[in-house]
Symmetry: C2
């Protein structure tokens, strides 16, 4: 399997430098010559949509995705409608920020009925697809690791994400493959192949052992047990040649100097992705 | 769905009272009139096999299972052989202790090649089946939650466990359903139905939110998000009427007085299982 020889496809998902605001992240990418950035809405909100757009554009950065829409299941119809409205705002923001992909973190169940929550996810996506299409935004369903099923996302396998996505045209709804979330799945390579034409994003980090924390326990590529290159090759065999986001939730990494994180990230990207 | 009306099937998995030795756990079960106990090998070893056997027998307790065999994948042939030998010892111990079920925690991969590790699990089981049959011991493959894939068990879905088990007669190899490990699985109810005649154990606890720790973060039944009763009903529809083990890894619970834990466990069992 071939190494990547350039960082042309490398994207800083800004959660990796969680202590940086958007301005600092943009400046860091410029200094480190990282061509892509993935934005988070709470970071955009800190400095405002217009300024965020201008900062990214003036820096010449490309935006690989906006994170996140989703969070569809809720106990009441009115709350579910609020979530739909919020997804519409996220779609507008994504378009304004110059990306074509909104990442969906689909949300947890509001009660013990996870099957119904999964239906609410499918229903929610159905409701926002036409709106997203009007803005030229693709919806990327990101299955999260099953350990997040109770708190973040009832969609926990690529199989489920593919099944929902296949209800729509590939230019409308697809999937996001994050190695941290899917590496354990015995059906992974079948499901990646099945997602051909629908992979809207590819995220990398690593699963470190021991895992210090459910949320903040991700590692830098090469520090863990995931065969990242094998997964990348499978993703590329489907035709995906888009940006590769480095998305690491880890407080220890957050507390390192951002430029150091970006330097390590670049070398690990070439070595392990 | 019907409540359980008695604790006839309730088993204390002794990891739930992790600070108790086997003698204390046996005495606790007698005081609280819990008819079953599930033993762990490191607890048996503390006081010796012969004394453990005598203690349990004299108390009139039934042993629902011994935990654990497994841990098959290893980097070298000689190390894999050591694991087989250890499994054979576990089978002898299970028979000596008076249970018919050895729970298999199949083990992590020794490198990034999780597919090969899964083959090593299947190969390891194949090697010990005849030995187990000689002792009248059934091998219960327990899929663990995917968050343990790197450290404890590459078998993370009931689908995988069923696929291996189906290579053998039901009286030789089956599966263990632990709600904590499988509740998130979109294919859960299909796989429980598929396991008909092969379910060798049913374990309960709960998934608490927020989850404080990967290993030690399980909760008492009723404190979390798992629809335990729905899963129990599915398990019983396959014909399983055996013991129900309460298996909770949680240091806060370990630090409570053991009898208090058993009292709560009994009432939660009737209320939520």
């Amino acid at each position: 399997m071939e190494h990547l020889t350039t960082i042309d496809r490398l994207s800083l998902n800004q959660i990796t430098t969680g202590n940086w605001n958007l301005r600092q992240a943009v400046d860091g990418c410029v200094r480190q010559e990282i061509p892509w950035i993935a934005l988070w809405r709470h970071k955009v909100e800190e400095i405002g949509l217009a300024d965020s757009k201008r900062l990214v554009k003036d820096a010449g950065l490309k935006v690989s995705s906006l994170c996140r829409g989703g969070m569809f299941p809720a106990a009441t119809e009115s709350e579910r409608q609020k979530r739909i409205d919020d997804n519409k705002r996220a779609i507008e923001e994504a378009a304004e920020l110059g990306t074509d992909t909104l990442v969906l973190v689909c949300g947890p169940s509001s009660d013990k009925d996870i099957a119904t929550a999964r239906k609410m996810v499918a229903d929610g996506i159905e409701q926002i697809v036409p709106f997203a299409a009007d803005y030229g935004i693709k919806l990327g369903i990101e299955p999260l690791h099953p350990m997040y099923a109770a708190e973040r996302c009832v969609i926990v396998t690529l199989n489920e994400a593919n099944t929902i996505a296949e209800q729509y045209q590939p230019e409308q709804v697809g999937v996001v493959v994050d190695v941290f979330h899917v590496w354990w799945d015995p059906d992974l390579y079948n499901q990646i192949a099945r997602a051909k034409g629908r992979i809207l994003g590819f995220h990398v980090s690593d699963w470190i052992v021991p895992t210090p924390d459910l949320l903040m326990g991700r590692g830098m590529m090469g520090d863990g047990v995931i065969d990242i290159r094998k997964i990348r090759n499978a993703v590329e065999q489907t035709g995906y040649k888009g940006p590769i986001e480095v998305e690491i939730f880890n407080e220890r990494i957050w507390n390192q100097p951002g430029d150091e994180v970006l330097r390590v990230m670049k070398s690990r990207y070439l070595e392990h992705v």
